[in-house]
């Protein structure tokens, strides 16, 4: 199977505007169709020949790559990609959208892949924005914690005895003479989880780390429902009700708390 053979097959469905070029001789070919994404770039469609007259039609991960220019590839984003791919009869695994099909289905599968790419870029843009910023917040706060406490901080703390399934993870435990148990709270769901985690781990942590201080770092406590706010404030010390930019100032404040908590 070569580029010429694949081009012939495509032109049966698409006419002279279809073209196949070789990207890796005998292994990876690129299909050029008059199918473009919103910014004018061509849809990314590749073909890998398989034995027995089959081909794998794949984007080689380009859809995710393009999405990642302006969004983190969170679980929500990749779930949405998978849903769109499935709707078009394709699979999504390990970052690639693809289908293994007989050669005679090359044309229709290539079109389905082009549609999937276009739909992913338009449909996922707005859906993912909120969750991305919540996850980014968590990532940024954790970076601040790592920078402030280096090897004194344990991220994703769980207690294997009390919670062998790891259902109640705590964002961080800072070791030292004034230990801190830290929950990062970007959203309402995280707030409720943090409250449950505290009740699960509190007695053991106090026993192992006398004087431990429970600290909540919310993105914006004011935006949570009143009862959730109350539960968080009842369970945790909240030094800042709004953290717009996790930065050096936050790191300094946390360091201060770890010596004078």
């Amino acid at each position: 199977m070569d580029a010429e053979h694949l081009t012939e097959r495509l032109r049966e469905g698409f006419g002279s505007s279809a073209k196949v070029t070789t990207r890796r001789a005998g292994r990876i070919f690129q299909i050029e169709l008059p199918a473009y994404l919103a910014d004018g770039d061509a849809a990314n469609i590749f073909v890998r020949p398989e034995p027995g007259g089959y081909v794998v039609v794949t984007d080689l991960g380009h859809t995710c790559m393009r999405l990642s220019y302006v969004r983190a590839l969170t679980g929500t984003v990749t779930d949405a990609v998978e849903q769109i791919a499935t709707r078009h009869g394709l699979r999504f695994e390990e970052g690639q959208i693809f289908a293994r099909v007989p050669l005679q289905d090359l044309f229709t599968t290539a079109l389905a892949l082009a549609q999937t790419q276009a739909e992913a870029e338009t449909a996922i843009a707005t859906r993912a924005t909120k969750e991305v910023s919540a996850e980014q917040f968590r990532t940024l706060v954790r970076e601040v914690l790592r920078e402030a406490f280096r090897d004194r901080v344990r991220l994703n703390y769980t207690d294997k005895e009390l919670d062998p399934e790891g259902l109640y993870p705590l964002d961080a435990v800072v070791e030292g003479p004034k230990p801190l148990a830290v929950a990062v709270i970007p959203s309402e769901a995280d707030a409720e989880r943090a409250v449950a985690t505290k009740f699960m781990l509190d007695s053991k942590l106090r026993e192992e780390r006398p004087g431990v201080k429970w600290l909540a770092l919310p993105r914006n406590l004011e935006k949570l429902p009143k009862k959730t706010q109350a539960r968080v404030e009842h369970a945790y010390h909240v030094p800042l009700r709004v953290i717009q930019h996790p930065n050096q100032q936050l790191a300094g404040m946390l360091r201060q708390m770890s010596v004078s908590a």
Binding site: E32, L60, M65, V70
Partner: protein, 181 residues
């Protein structure tokens, strides 16, 4: 209020380490580097992003992203490696398998830097850079042009990072490069 042209032309420096990523699929390697840009009146963060496809490393993208406060991030400039042909709104076509740069229009450059930038128009890179790029190009070979275009202060750590993204010798060496070591 600065214009987009003011932002692109302003001197910038790279902040280290690279921003943490949540996760990437195995088909790509990523780096996001925050840039300091001393333009008065500018709000938000400029981020230099780099993406390299691990199966076809000549398929890469390097660009400038604006993350304004309280708004969705947007791309201001984007330089791509090889992919299919790119038809421009004026009817010209960038041939497939050529590196090209997506640029704002004159109207977008003269407007408020937070305005909508569509980046539908691309320009083939080779005639712009004034030197012969390897065929296929890699992200390291286009960096000197991109750095100069965006007025980013020379920093050898960026070149090291880009080399690691193209052909990482080990996970540790990639992590060191992301940390600017």
């Amino acid at each position: 209020m600065p214009t987009l042209q003011d932002i692109l032309a302003a001197p910038k420096t790279v902040n280290w380490p690279a921003k943490g990523k949540i996760k990437s699929p195995p088909t790509q390697v990523d780096a996001d580097l925050e840039l300091s840009c001393g333009v008065s009146g500018m709000r938000g963060q400029l981020v230099l992003y780099v993406r390299v496809n691990t199966i076809l490393p000549e398929s890469f993208s390097i660009g400038l992203r604006l993350e304004p406060q309280g708004k969705k991030p947007s791309l201001l400039v984007r330089l791509n490696g090889w992919h299919g042909p790119h038809p421009n709104p004026d009817g010209t076509i960038i041939p497939g398998h050529t590196a090209h740069i997506h640029l704002p229009t004159a109207k977008e450059l003269a407007g408020d830097y937070t305005g909508k930038v569509e980046l539908r128009t691309a320009v083939e890179l080779q005639p712009l850079v004034g030197l012969v790029l390897p065929s296929p190009p890699d992200v390291v070979s286009v960096w000197p042009f991109f750095q100069q275009y965006l007025n980013i202060a020379p920093d050898p750590r960026v070149t090291t990072l880009l080399s690691e993204l193209c052909d990482s010798t080990s996970q540790q060496s990639l992590e060191d490069a992301l940390n600017g070591c």
